[in-house]
Amino acid sequence: MVLQTTGYLFTEFFSDMTLVLKIFVLLSIWDFVKQRIGNNFLAAIILIGAAWFILFDMFWFFGGIYILIMLGMLGVSNLLIDFYFVGGGSAIKGLLRKVGIIRGGKMSRPPGQPPKIESPVSSAVDLQKRQQQLRRNQSPATKWGRR
């Protein structure tokens, strides 16, 4: 009973949101045709043809593209980049490793060699740790300069 109700709700929600998305895609087509062709008979023909093709024939493709374009225009990609830099890659890698998409443990390096900087600096704490690590790894000759 609960599953049936949940499934019904999900189906109803999905169909409603599909209709809303189709209306917004129609608005985009309308704007595109009006801006480039104007208010004439040719614009109406192109509008009807494009709307039929995009909204009814290939909506499974253009609906997803429209959502991606809108998310990109609003700056969600910046959010993802920030999200990645906070972890410096290690958090994302840890998650992928736990899920099983990638394998392996921590990166090993030969003894005596300084650790590689594998990602951009993500925070002030990160920068401070890296500077301390670099200072620790420097030899006296390089630390005080050549004479």
Binding site: F13, D16, M17, L19, V20, I23, L27, W30, D31, M70, L74, G75, V76, N78, L79, D82, F83, F85, V86, G87, G88, S90, A91, I92, G94, L95, R97, K98, S122, S123, A124, V125, D126, K129
Partner: protein, 106 residues
């Protein structure tokens, strides 16, 4: 594995910000009306900017307002908060940067 909790922390903070209007709408009927009216005005002005002052604007606005404001108001409020307040104002980037700076890495 290190730093994995930061992902969930950031996702939790952003989700909490998105869910906030829905919680407010459930908590107070006055706030519910205010948020719904604001959403309806936004939808109507957006459609009018495309079609102008004619019957098409009213029909399409009515359909969208019924679906987005009356039927799925909590979802619309959450999406609106996310897409037009959190992301364009870089508030999410600020939250991500702050959490990353406070909790650091390893």
């Amino acid at each position: 594995m290190s730093g994995m909790y930061i992902i969930f922390l950031i996702a939790g903070v952003i989700l909490a910000m998105m869910v906030l209007p829905a919680v407010l709408m459930m908590a107070s009927p006055v706030l519910e009306i205010i948020i719904k009216v604001a959403l309806a005005i936004i939808i109507f002005s957006n459609i009018r900017a495309h079609f102008g002052n004619n019957i098409l604007t009213i029909i399409i606005s009515a359909v969208l307002i019924y679906l987005l404001v009356i039927k799925w108001a909590s979802f619309t409020a959450a999406v609106y908060i996310f897409m037009f307040l959190i992301v364009p104002t870089q508030f999410a980037s600020l939250a991500i940067w702050t959490i990353g700076t406070i909790f650091g890495r390893e």
